[in-house]
Amino acid sequence: MTKMRELTFREAVVEALDIALERDPKVFLLGEDIGYYGGLFQATQGLMQKYGEDRVMDSPISESAILGAGIGSAIVGMHPIVEIMNIDFLPVCMDQLVNQAAKMHYMFGGQMKIPLVIRTTCGAGRGGAAHHAQATHAAFMHFPGIKIVIPGTPHDVKGLLFTAIEDENPVLFIEDKMMYNLKGEVPEGYYTVPFGKAAIRHEGKDITIVATMRMIHKALTVANEMEKEGIGIEVIDPRTLCPLDKETILHSFKKTGKMIIVDEGNRVGNFGSEVASIIAEEAVEYIQAPILKVTAPHVPVPYSPILEKEFYIPNEDGIRKAIHKVMEYA
């Protein structure tokens, strides 16, 4: 079998957006600096030049207007893909997201569809500090009505983006900015990766690790190491937080009885808390060891590289420690 071509995560995003714009005249992009600049992270590079300013629209720095423009135009028949540059900025327009986009279908009794994709980026590691490096995806899970996508590979980011565009609901699509340069195999053309279907990135029978976005790859590094030591780690990438593939997670857990969640969000109210709660409710009789979370500590993102890279961002070492701890219960 010939190897598939490789693209970076960023290139996969650009390609997906390119194809989406090409396929459907109702699709348009709107966001800050997505035009001439090509996106702060270059994830819309060249698209304005190709499709013109009407289909790739630079926006004023007015995030509520950006989301509202997305919601309103979606309701009247367009397929907007809007961008909020950093997830840190979503609190500025949170009402449009959690009160309007998320609730309109329900509170109006299902009268209208809102096929809106909201792309944003998350993650620390570039010295962005408290306002440009958060990973707050878990907070949005508490608000019913938004689908939440957290792609973990170049392959997935493209396929999930198509699924997001096909979806007739508001979708919060979160790109981990520290993965933009990550390379991986990406099929040509159009394909979809379904929502609510987790991927098992590494099989193992001893411990289940549910890891999100960039953390998947850290977990995989450790899983490969551990394999040599004879410890089998099953690494699960949930791909979407809403809908969440509880079945795959529970199925794996019932096999291993041990669970570690690795997620860059702050510790309290972390996605891992939700996973732990699902297990404690639905698979309690299988629990063999403490369910551990490897997360950022519960503080804002600090600037200094020593604080950020050596302490704040969850790393392989933290994963190893957690593994050793749960293995004490073997």
């Binding site: 509202g68 423009a69 309103g72 309701i75 009402d95 329900y106 007739e168 609901n169």
Partner: protein, 322 residues
């Protein structure tokens, strides 16, 4: 008058529909029969009716917590509206929305938003969608004097004017945001002045005069449809009742009885009725006939609502996603 009689009578009828619909709500609320909050439009009918008379079912509006008037003026059916207020399954939103969240998408009513100011960006979005699809439509965004101080309103206006999308911002300046008088929530007198900050026209009209509102919005619709962008129209008006039913003494904690009485003299329905009679456009009998007809239909809507079933409890789980 230069207007066709049928249109004038239609305006009168719509205003009466709003008035009698809401008087039913007053009555039912007082009996404890309305299960949620109700913010009434009584006194402000000329604004919604004058504005929406320029629209067709194809055009859109966004509405507010004080939305019954907008909804009726835009063609909303009294029966599913009333049913919605009573939380019935036959309501416009299957009983999920209630008074503050009525939408009637087939009539172009995108919906009422309970968060003050949040309709602005969405209205602008709908207008953007119209523009992108080259449709011959407009959007009216209703909002209050209080809402004019929300950040979202500012962003919406800037965006709309920049992209010259076909939206009309109709500000219902009823002088209060709940209990806070306009001079206690902003240093300006005319909200329309803010239009200059977005390079769009801003006009002030008498919001108690349905024809004045009609004319101003007509101009704005023309402008919007010709690609020239948005207009801000400030309608000076007044709510005759409290902020919501239950606001004690119709709001006498923060305004005077005299003020209320002064404004009541300018009742948009009474004045318009008198005008039509005085200018011999319609006879009193004809108008009484319309009035009776409206009352009857409101009563029918009420009976419809009463006889309609509630949703089943588990239906709370439906409609989360499309």
């Amino acid at each position: 008058m230069k207007y066709p009689k049928s249109m004038l009578l239609e305006m009168l009828k719509k205003m009466m529909e709003i008035r009698y619909f809401e008087e039913k709500v007053v009555d039912q609320y007082a009996r404890g029969a309305v299960p949620g909050l109700a913010h009434l439009y009584i006194g402000e009918e000329a604004v919604a009716v004058g504005a929406c008379m320029n629209l067709t079912d194809e055009d859109y509006i966004t509405s507010t917590h004080r939305g019954h008037g907008h909804c009726i003026a835009k063609g909303g059916d009294l029966k599913p509206m009333m049913a919605e207020l009573f939380g019935k399954r036959t309501g416009y939103c299957k009983g999920k929305g209630g008074s503050m969240h009525i939408a009637a998408f087939d009539k172009g009513i995108i919906g009422a938003m309970g968060i003050v100011g949040s309709g602005g960006p969405i209205a602008v979005g709908a207008a953007l969608g119209i523009k992108k699809q080259n449709l011959d439509r407009v959007v009216i965004c209703f909002f209050g004097d209080g809402a004019s101080n929300e950040g979202a309103t500012h962003e919406a206006m800037n965006f709309a004017s920049l992209h010259k999308v076909p939206v009309i911002f109709v500000c219902e300046n009823n002088l209060y945001g709940i209990s806070v008088a306009q001079h206690r929530h902003q240093a300006i007198k005319d909200i329309a002045i803010r239009a200059a900050g977005y390079a769009m026209p801003g006009v002030v009209v008498d919001g108690m005069d349905v024809l004045a509102v009609y004319e101003a919005v007509k101009e704005a619709v023309k402008r919007a449809k010709s690609g020239k962008g948005p207009t801000l129209i400030e309608c000076k008006t007044y709510r005759f009742r409290g902020h919501h039913e239950g606001d004690p003494n119709l709001g006498l904690r923060y305004r005077t009885k005299d003020e209320i009485e002064e404004w009541k003299k300018r009742c948009p329905i009474l004045c318009f009725k008198e005008k039509l009679i005085k200018e011999k456009i319609a006879k009193k009998k004809e108008i009484d006939q319309i009035e009776e007809d409206v009352k009857r239909r409101v009563e029918e809507a009420f009976v419809y609502a009463m006889q309609s079933p509630f949703p089943k409890p588990e239906q709370a789980l439906e409609d989360l996603f499309a």
